[in-house]
Every structure is written in C-alpha cells, then in structure tokens.
Amino acid sequence: MDNHLFLQRRERLMALKSRREGKSPQVRAVAGKCPGCGAAIPKAELAKNLYVCPECGRHHPIGAYLRLSLILDPNSFRELDERLAAPNALNFPGYDDKLKALRRATGLTEGAVSARGRIDGRECVACVLDSRFFMGSMGSALGEKVTRAVEHAQKYKLPLIIFSASGGARMQEGILSLMQMAKTSAALERFSRAGGFYISVFTHPTTGGVTASFASLGDITLAEPGALIGFAGPRVIEQTIGEKLPDGFQRSEYLEEHGFVDAIVPRGELRAALARLLMLHERGNRRG
C-alpha cells in the first residue's frame, strides 16, 4: 500500500514536470508557427498530437519527462541519479550562473533524465537527453549520468534505451567533456559484452560527440522522422567544402538510406516499437 502511494506520487511528479514542459517557451514558439510549414497549431491540439505538427508531420523536440511519460507504463517511473549536477571543473567564467539559470528555467538539474520503468510490463532503464538544457550538450555530469544508466542496466540485467538530442560537447567543460565520449563508449562496450541489450533512439537534433559515442553504439538504432543526425554540423561542412549541402542531408531518412539506422519510427508508434523490441530480446525468449 505504502509502495503504491509512492508510485502514485512519482507519477504525479512526472506528470507535473511534463506538463511544465508543455508550457515552455520552445513549445509556445512552435505552436505559434511550425518551423517546418509555418502552420499555427493551437497548443492543445499540438499536445494531443504529441508535439508533431498535424500539417507537415514535423517532430518538434520535447522534454525528457514528457518523453518518459509517453513511453513508460503508468506508475512504473522511478528516476535515477536525479541530483547529479555539473561541476565547474575548469572554473569557466559565467558557467555556474548559466547552469543556475537553466535549472530554474527548465526544472532539470542536467541535460539528461534517467529512469527505471516498464514498457508493456517489461522492465528497462531509459535515459533521455533534453535539448532545453545547454542543447543537451555532453559535459561530465551528462556523461556520468549516461554511464550510470548503463551500469545500472548491467547490474540489474535490464535492457537500456537512450534517447539522444544533443549539440555535442559542452564547451565550458573543455577536455573533460571530450573524455565523456570515451567513458560512455567504454561503459556500453562492457554492457554489450555482458550480453546487455541497448536501443539507441536519435531525435532532433543529435550531432557532435554524442553521435560519435553512445548514440551510435546501439544494438538497434531508431530515429524519429526528419531528425538532424551527424558528426559535424551542416554549417561547418558547408564552410569546409565550400558548397551548399543537398536537401535532406544528415536527416533520419538519409541515414537510413546510408545504412546507419534500423528504422524510422514516428513518435506515436515509438512506444509500441520499443515494446516489441524488448519482447524480441527478452532473455527468457532465448532457446537452448
């Protein structure tokens, strides 16, 4: 009974946080004018459509708690490492203040939320990057959070799902940010060799060090439609090669065509796709 009350409290907390995400300036901006087709969609309708434009199908970025509430079974959410926060290890001027301001504005402590929960009754660890926090950039706290999610999944022999959305490295943490690529990739390699199952889901946009580390190491790799996915950003490439990039370059569909994505899954079908993949990879389903 006590346990049940706790679960309900956690659920209310997640619902509260995801509702708050629905009121964020980012959501207001895309509701006013879709960056894909320019349509003005009433906020309530956009929310009902999971923040996918009903006119052009553009998948707008969503917050981590909202994402978790869309995929996890009711009353199964339990947040992991929720108080993990970034240190200003390089004493970078202004970094502490910027972190404080972002924490107030988003209600997040870092650019990722990790949780343990169930999808169609199957237990898993889910880690979601949130682009509202420093563009989901990977500093040491984000790298540590991802690594701990991997280690948690390995310890309890659970499947792991990571939703990526990131501008790359966190500039303010310099080289320590770069080292998170090695740390997260090493943790995933261990997890993989121990037989762990990892689904990586690319969402818009995922570039830089996150693409070049944990996001590209899934046993199964999914992407939301139209997401920008790449190592170098399109502007840097245009400057380097001195020409305009073709339409659709570095989008989910381009990556699928080039062999880097198993499937592109619209947001509304993601929960069912994940449930099926968890079922197919369940250890008890192995023969012999």
């Binding site: 080289i175 690529m181 740390k183 990739s185 590209s216 190592f231 950003g233």
Partner: protein, 271 residues
C-alpha cells in the same frame, strides 16, 4: 620546461616541420610493415598504421599522418581522417589483439574531417565504434599526443592505458578558433580561447587526462628532432614496460576513463 602562453604552444603544435607519426615510426621502431585499407571501401592515408618491432617485440603502431610537403598534405587531407581511416585503425587494433601485440598510437590531427562523404559513410559511427573497441582491448595500449589533439578525431586513437603528451602539444575538445567562434561568434579571439580551454600538456596533466609530459628542446620539437625521438622513446618504454605485466589491461583502462569527470568523488553531487 619553457615558459609559453597556450597560444604559442598551439602555434608550435601545428608548426610545419614538427616531427610526425611517420618520423616516430622511422626512428623508434624497426622492420615497419605498413598495412593499408579498411577492407570495406578505401585506403585513408591520413591514418598511418602497421606492424613493427619495438625493442625486438612486435607491436601495432598507428597514428595520424599530416604529410611533409604540400602534395603529401593534400594526399593525407592534412591529417583529418574520414570514417575509412578509423575503420582501418579498428582492423589493425583487432589484429593486435589476435596476435597479442601492444598497441602504440601517435596523435596529431586537427580533427576528423567534416565533409559530405565522411558524413555519408558514418563518421560518427566510425569514431564511436573505435572508442568502444579500443576501450576494451585486452592488450596494452599507449598513446602519445605529439602535435594537435583535435576533438573526437584525436580521442579515437587515445583510449589507452597510458596517455603521454609532448610539452608543446595541445589536446582539446575542438580548435581554439572553433571554440571562440561558438562561444563568442568571433574566431579571431582564439588566443583568449586557448588560455581558457586548458589545452596544454601541463593543464592536462593536472586534470588527470594525461599521465606524463615529455619535455621538448628549448625552441620546440622541430629544432632538434633527434632529441625528441630519444625522449619519446624513453617515455614510451618506461610506460609500456609495466603495462606488459598487467593481466587485465581492459579493466585497467576502463577504470582510468571511468574516473574522468566521475562526480561522486568531487563532492559536487547533489544541489
């Protein structure tokens, strides 16, 4: 060690005539046999690798290659590998493991190449899977940052049990120019950025990112290369020898990188 600003070290690290991977291979090793190609698509000369003897022991040696002349620079794409370079590196690392050879890498790149074809063939995936593979190698690995350690393209050859760095080499999350342009929209402020970024060997030693700094001649490595080869040789041998006795090289390496920015120890966890 010489007293220099970070900006001056960036200039020295990039200086033409600074010894590169091909020089270290020629002077520190014998019987080098170059292995070419990724067996998937093409040969990427911006990563040079093969098998050689180091004090009579077979080793796999790999590094970024910038080239010596303009013609070579162009062939080697100024040391900026594409996915094929990293996939070749993976192929060589797997062979090192198969034949129980230590892996020695030399890092000197502005970064992985940001080009259209590189993206089309999965630059991100190539770097990610190299990081994962190198992290779990069961043979010892030593990396030496000899010039520019630029971003993920450098780190892909840097997940080693011991990471050494030349006094005037630099190692950073991206170039000071890129850093200044992202933070202040002004790439001309790269000198200022270089100071803030903590990219010098001394800074990185303090941060625990590198294990040892190899001293250079007073005016930089290019002024007396022979002395530099001797210093690198000495440091390499000193760090490789104890690693040859370690049973769990992969575990040793994992703990080293696991500790990078591990927050529990810093006392900063919890707001």
């Amino acid at each position: 060690m010489a007293d220099r600003t970070a900006e001056q070290r960036v200039a020295l690290a990039r200086r033409a005539g600074r010894p590169g991977t091909a020089d270290y291979i020629a002077h520190l090793f014998t019987d080098f046999f170059e292995c070419r190609g990724d067996r998937l698509c093409r040969e990427d000369p911006s990563i040079l690798g093969g098998v050689a003897l180091y004090y009579g022991r077979p080793v796999t040696v790999l590094g970024h290659r910038k080239g010596k002349s303009l013609e070579e620079n162009l062939t080697c794409n100024f040391g900026m590998p594409g996915p094929e370079g990293y996939r070749k590196a993976q192929r060589l690392m797997k062979q090192a493991e198969k034949f129980r050879r230590p892996v020695i890498t030399f890092i000197d790149t502005p970064g992985a190449y940001p080009g259209l074809e590189a993206e089309a063939r999965g630059q991100g995936e190539a770097i990610a899977s190299t990081l994962a593979l190198m992290s779990a190698l069961t043979v010892p690995a030593v990396a030496v940052v000899t010039g520019e350690g630029g971003s993920g393209g450098a780190l892909a050859l840097g997940v080693a049990n011991a990471v050494l760095m030349l006094e005037n080499a630099v190692y950073s999350v991206l170039s000071p120019e890129g850093f200044a342009s992202i933070l202040w929209k002004d790439s001309a402020r790269s000198g200022e950025a270089a100071e803030l970024m903590k990219l010098t060997a001394a800074d990185l030693l303090e941060l625990g990112v590198v294990d040892a700094v190899i001293p250079e001649p007073e005016e930089g490595a290019h002024t007396a290369p022979e002395a530099v080869y001797a210093a690198v040789d000495q440091a390499l041998a000193a760090h490789l020898t104890p690693l040859l006795k370690i049973r769990d090289c992969a575990g040793h390496r994992y703990q080293k990188f696991r500790a990078m920015g591990a927050l529990a120890a810093s006392g900063r966890e919890g707001l």
